[in-house]
């Protein structure tokens, strides 16, 4: 189905659906929380364990039963296992590249077009807008709040930002509004960082704000920043002049028990912020687990690129952190009645080599990995696709990042007419079993 226009696919599916009564064109999701597990979690050590595989494949973890009959996860995810009836799992994801940069673009836009990897050579075609930008274009908010927000820093491979986190041909107005949580400073707004370390709290003081704006403007002029950056800063200042908007980012307004429930990691607090944002109607919130792929050096929680020390890192950090925070997010959304209207997707750019390397790690593996998807009208408790005996390849119902992007579009109700108007093509089709 590669290359077919998304609108045509939707139309065909609508016709087929109306005949058998199974498919829906317009989804019920009002918002999307897209959790980006940058670096690529290992499918065998998370949600597709292979306890009968040889030791050099299966790894050191046992498996645990979930609430879904016959479905087992790695023992590192007991909280998610006890909530498996709240979300669905895709075990047959596969992508087109084992290069973070290229697979990252594919994962975020659904297409390899315009991706740039380690070799620095762009792939053919113009980079597509990221899914969040498309949603932002279609679901632009009248309130003046940004329609697409990223919680987390810019995604990098090495020192280079990857392609595919922005609006592309939709324009800079569809780029994400970015906010970053760190434990030292709380929430930061990178677009304002030339302004003397502004924080939402400091903006309470209008005098300081005016001074900061002047300072920032002077610095901007002297550094010759582009118009689009200026737009972002204008948007940021306009937003933060409004107390109700500033309060959106203020996690201190949450009870300490709720903050603890999410976990006091960057990822945990970022998930909490994502909940606050969708609660206020932001249509698309992307949570970046980390800025960089590496596990050891990162301003965030360290990425999932575990070429070495994979199992120790999974035990000590990434396993319990993901289990804890994602479970808290599901619980919180459910308890607030938001899960039905909020689509939650958690996925990385690829999986990891089924065969363990000689550094107690796993390397890049684009041929098979897993994704979690929940809420927003998606059927819960399902397992879409299977992998083979060593989780090396999909053995049934293979799904691509393009399929996942198309599924998000369908869940949030982007119509074929809207897609056509915007000139948007998605290299995949919705995963119909989820609707």
């Amino acid at each position: 189905m590669l290359g077919l226009h998304w609108a045509d696919l939707l139309k065909a599916r609508a016709i087929a659906g109306s005949a058998n009564g199974t498919a829906k064109v317009n989804g019920s999701a009002k918002s999307v929380i897209f959790i980006w597990l940058w670096g690529g979690p290992a499918q065998l050590d998370t949600f597709d364990p292979k306890p009968n595989a040889p030791a050099e494949f299966r790894g050191p973890f046992s498996t645990i039963q979930t609430r879904s009959p016959g479905v087992r996860y790695s023992e590192l995810f007991p909280k998610l296992a006890s909530r498996s009836d709240q979300f669905s799992l895709i075990r047959s994801m596969h992508s087109q590249s084992n290069d973070h940069g290229v697979a990252g673009t594919v994962g975020l836009t659904g297409s390899i077009a315009g991706a740039v990897g380690l070799d620095g050579k762009p792939k053919a075609g113009q980079a597509r807008p990221t899914t969040g930008s498309i949603v932002a274009k279609v679901r632009k908010l009248d309130s003046g709040l940004p329609s697409f927000m990223v919680v987390g820093g810019k995604l990098h491979q090495g020192k280079k930002a990857i392609i595919g986190e922005g609006g592309g041909f939709l324009g800079a107005s569809c780029d994400p509004f970015r906010i970053v949580y760190d434990q030292m400073h709380g929430m930061r707004i990178p677009a304002l960082e030339l302004g003397q370390g502004l924080t939402p709290e400091r903006l309470e003081d209008r005098k300081k704000l005016n001074t900061a704006i002047s300072d920032a403007s002077r610095k901007l002029d002297s550094k010759g920043f582009s118009h689009s950056w200026g737009e972002h800063m204008d948007q940021a200042f306009a937003l933060l002049m409004r107390p109700e908007a500033r309060s959106l980012f203020d996690l201190s307004l949450e009870p300490a028990s709720v903050r603890d429930q999410y976990g006091r990691t960057r990822f945990g607090q970022s998930c909490l912020l994502a909940r606050r944002l969708v609660e206020k109607g932001i249509p698309f919130v992307q949570v970046n687990w980390s800025d960089h792929v590496e596990a050891e050096e990162d301003a965030g929680d360290g990425g999932w690129d575990h070429h070495y020390r994979n199992f120790q890192i999974m035990i000590d950090r990434h396993g319990p952190w993901l289990d804890h925070s994602l479970s808290a997010l599901f619980d919180d959304l459910k308890n607030r009645g938001l899960l039905d209207s909020t689509l939650v997707v958690a996925v990385g750019e690829f999986g990891r080599t089924p065969k363990i390397n000689d550094k107690a790690g796993r390397d890049h593996w684009e041929h098979c990995y897993s994704a979690l998807i929940a809420g927003g009208g998606i059927k819960p408790g399902m397992v879409i696709g299977t992998s083979d005996a060593r989780a090396e390849r999909p053995s049934s119902r293979p799904c691509t990042p393009g399929d996942l992007a198309a599924t998000i579009h369908q869940a949030i109700g982007i119509t074929s007419e809207q897609s056509q108007t915007l000139g948007i093509t998605v290299d995949g089709e919705p995963i119909a079993e989820l609707f």
Binding site: S62, R264, E296, I315, A360
Partner: protein, 299 residues
């Protein structure tokens, strides 16, 4: 002050390990909000050494073993590359640790030794493969550590005077987290040779392996008590990570943290009266000290 006595319900060879706890005696040592791991008590009992991920850097830190103490980063050579999983020499004058030499999106691990004040670093185990978890023997003459130089994670010992390396484990499973018995006769470790991680011990030459835990859950990071009669370790057998204590033969397992949070990296104080650990039960990952008034095998 309210105390209670918890009798571990295990009788092995006519003896029972008795653990007396003071539940109100939980001291919160750190409060900086950063993630911490690999906790070790200094030989004089005054400080704790641990790994902290702080502002994007993984570093060794020390803190006085007291309430609300100030965390001090250990300044080692090449401080901007990750250095972690430290261990004090028996005389407290040196620290061994893992140094990660970053290369692109990959890294090379080696074992370094540095003076306790952070000066005079030298390489003890050059990078050959994955090198991790260095632990001095109680007499300071040997170092046990984990390496993948023969394929998967195995435990090795090096005689520091002559650099003679001995491979102690040989199994398809992962063998890691070594820790010496205070009399130097045995090493306790975590092994996945039985399907998932279990606590085992072996003689210092690698023979006489004993399986000490037998649970479908994960048991890791074991550490002997100062008298060598008990072992503290981390297990997720309750669905969350808790610190457990058992007799050195694996009997009498008892959960001493017993909450639904992450409690990990137990470290027994040199006088045997306290166990330090890292927990997020109050939100962020902080160092706590729990009093254990009495821990001994009762005849």
């Amino acid at each position: 002050m309210h105390f209670f006595v918890a009798m571990i319900c295990s009788i092995v060879g006519g003896s029972v390990y008795q653990l007396q706890e003071a539940p109100s005696q939980l001291v919160k040592v750190t409060n900086d909000g950063s993630f911490k791991s690999h906790l070790v008590w200094s030989p004089d009992g005054k400080k704790l050494l641990f790994t902290r991920i702080h502002q994007g850097k993984m570093e060794l830190c020390t803190v006085k073993a007291e309430k609300s103490a100030e965390v001090v980063a250990l300044v080692v050579p090449s401080p901007n590359t990750p250095h972690f999983d430290g261990h004090w020499s028996p005389d407290g004058k040196s620290i061994v640790y893992v140094h990660d030499i970053l290369q692109g999106t990959d890294g090379k691990l080696q074992i370094n030794e540095v003076s306790a004040d952070g000066t005079g670093a030298k390489i003890l185990i050059p990078h050959k493969a994955f090198e991790e978890s260095p632990r001095y023997s109680p007499d300071g003459k040997h170092l046990a550590w984990v390496s993948t130089r023969d394929g998967n994670q195995e435990i090795y010992s090096i005689e520091l005077a002559n650099q003679k390396v001995q491979r102690l484990t040989q199994d398809q499973g992962f063998d890691n987290n070594p820790n010496w018995k205070p009399d130097g006769s045995r090493i306790v470790f975590a092994s996945s040779r039985f399907g998932n991680f279990e606590i085992c011990s072996m003689k210092k030459d690698g023979t006489g392996v004993l399986r000490l835990t037998n649970d479908s859950a994960m048991d890791v990071w074991p550490v002997y008590s100062p008298d060598g009669k008990a072992i503290a370790f981390t297990s997720n057998r309750t669905g969350s990570y808790n610190i457990f204590v058992m007799n050195e033969d694996g009997s009498g397992v008892r959960n001493i943290t017993n909450n639904k949070s992450i409690n990990n990296f137990a470290a027994w104080s040199p006088d045997g009266k306290s166990i330090a650990f890292i927990s997020n039960h109050q939100g962020s990952y902080e160092v706590y000290i729990k009093s254990i008034l009495q821990g001994r095998r009762m005849e």
